[in-house]
Symmetry: C2
Subunit: 355 residues, 2 copies
């Protein structure tokens, strides 16, 4: 397939990746939702272009630097899905001249600060906390929600657009039914709020819900990110099958320890990230797979321990002496650690590290 | 001090960093040890230069790309402290023409492969496993050790140099006495092996032992890396005080959640890494500190949860509204995620991401 490299390499399955994009775009279209994919997972202008074939106009990012990068690569309608804070103002002033922005605000003060500093039109989301308790405004804080919407309505170049929920709770689910159970209260909140705010758009951010829901009656927009690659965690959650995963890491084997039934991989926290999932035997920092263009099959081996550059594999591979292919636990964090993707046919795809 | 940035910034205290370098260099000198610092922590040619003031000649790295980077920045005596594996050969051929190499081998086959492909002289370490059970050869595998040393002695341009131990077990210690207890068996092994291999050099790699031991009778070389910055984990292990830590991360506060007594930081796994330490209340992904040039004092607040870009702080800071300063849990992994350091006087220090 490719020469064995002297270091860990991020492998991208272009076909599976394009299939994931097409499947989600088709799904959003069929549900009558606007598809505004989150680009934080791939951080690549090239992969971004693959979305254009599906008439995607607007995208989602989570930082100023990501917005700048994709704006400079021809995207002119960008949601920054992260709470606005004061020191972003100067960068936002510049971006507001170059593209259409949608921003998350948490107070009337945010609206005023932004409107005083940004001269062109921009849109406002209120991020709702429907139980995940990360960022956003609690769903039942009607006074604050109404005051923000009223503040927007008083300023001609500020447009209240709608509500956004990223329910990270679905990433703790085990199975499709549990994903649906966790996201159900959010959908009920959306249904109720639609009565109160009939002009608002209702947006959903998490990959598990976007992947498994079939009923999007109360949702107007989808902006998942991880689905572009998926990963081992998403297969365990139930968002996808292993055959949908489009991102892998090739790790050279540095030493085989037959007595311990272990192998030392050249692949550590700086290549995979330290995200893990618990399984019956302990922590899994990366799942070994047999990978072909036709099939991805999990092997009875995974990374049990990670230091900066070493990974310990809990079994010596029988067939392969030189390397293993790992399905990463969390593709967003793994991709973030690398500066390019290599496709199965040897094409190098540039990406940025935009944290 | 500096303007509040719109994204997380890696802060380097140059004075504390230079003090850490000087302290370790002086200690090695006083103990009669060669100081071959590990450069994987800082990954910066500029910081590398600060070591030259202490007559450092040789350095340690953990990958081919780090060796190439520092070789291109004027270092001509480099240990690659990672098991040699086959696909490194082509890169090593080139490096062997440009600098003096010390390599880790695990078999007679490794020695033969290297000697057949590398035309200039090079040195060989045997990495010993003295109980940490990561890479290396078990200390009591005398047959294998002897056969490797004999294989080296038969080839004129291959020089067996000595033994190397990185005992990662000391990173699990709580306090100076426990560090000493964990490293003691390794020092006993070195004492015994010195009788059998009187010409060999004995090298110690971990930061905790190098930081707290005072007796280096059976050690010839020290190659710690983390000590250049230290971090919150090292303060808990007992390797250093908080006032020795030279690396911090400035994280903008994105949202204050007064009801929950929490704050949302613009700072996630892509800025800090997902390494954590357990404390009495749960996981600590980053410790808030009050940082001045004179003092670093821990505040009763830390990051309790991390997603890709969000960090959740378990207390709303009273004095500071715009940002917090975090002492990272594991400075090696945190530094690896950033492309530059900013010093307290606003100097930008370039670094590489060399994974």
């Amino acid at each position: 397939m490719i020469d064995i490299p002297d270091k860990p390499i991020l492998l991208l399955d272009e076909k599976r990746c394009r299939n994931n994009i097409k499947r989600m775009a088709d799904k959003a279209k069929a549900a009558g939702c606007e598809f505004r994919p989150h680009f934080k997972t791939h951080q690549s202008a090239t992969i971004g272009e693959w979305f254009r074939e599906h008439e995607i106009k607007g995208i989602t990012v989570s930082s100023i630097s990501m917005a700048e990068y994709f704006c400079n690569n021809g995207w002119d309608d960008i949601t920054i899905a992260f709470p606005f804070f004061l020191s972003q103002i100067n960068a936002l002033k510049v971006l507001n001249q170059k593209c259409s922005l949608r921003l998350f605000v948490n107070s009337v003060r945010d609206v005023k600060l932004l409107s005083e500093n940004l001269s062109n039109d921009f849109r406002v989301y209120i991020e709702l906390d429907t139980g995940y308790t990360r960022s956003g405004i609690p769903q039942n804080n009607n006074d604050l929600i109404t005051s923000i919407i009223n503040a927007c309505s008083e300023i001609s170049h500020v447009h209240f657009h709608g509500f956004y929920v990223h329910h990270g709770g679905t990433y703790q689910a085990k199975g499709i039914e549990e994903i649906k159970r966790i996201i159900a209260p959010t959908l009920s909140v959306y249904q109720e709020m639609r009565q109160v705010f009939p002009d608002a758009k209702f947006s959903l951010g998490d990959t598990p819900s976007a992947s498994v829901l079939s009923d999007f009656d109360n949702v107007d927009e989808l902006s998942p990110g991880n689905f572009v690659f998926y990963d081992w965690m998403q297969t365990q959650i139930g968002s996808c099958t292993l055959n949908d995963v489009a991102l892998f890491v090739l790790l050279p084997i540095a030493q085989v320890l037959k007595v311990q039934n272990q192998a030392i991989l050249h692949g550590g926290a700086v290549h995979l990230s330290k995200d893990f999932i618990e399984n019956e035997c302990g922590r899994n920092y990366g799942q070994v797979v047999r990978y072909t263009r036709e099939n991805v099959i999990s092997e009875p081996a995974y990374i049990t321990s990670l230091s900066q550059e070493h990974g310990i594999l809990n079994a010596t591979p029988d067939n392969v002496q030189d390397y293993v292919i790992i399905c990463p636990v969390h593709s967003c964090l793994t991709a973030n650690l690398h500066s390019f993707y290599l496709t199965a046919d040897g094409k190098k795809i540039e990406k940025k590290v935009l944290s």
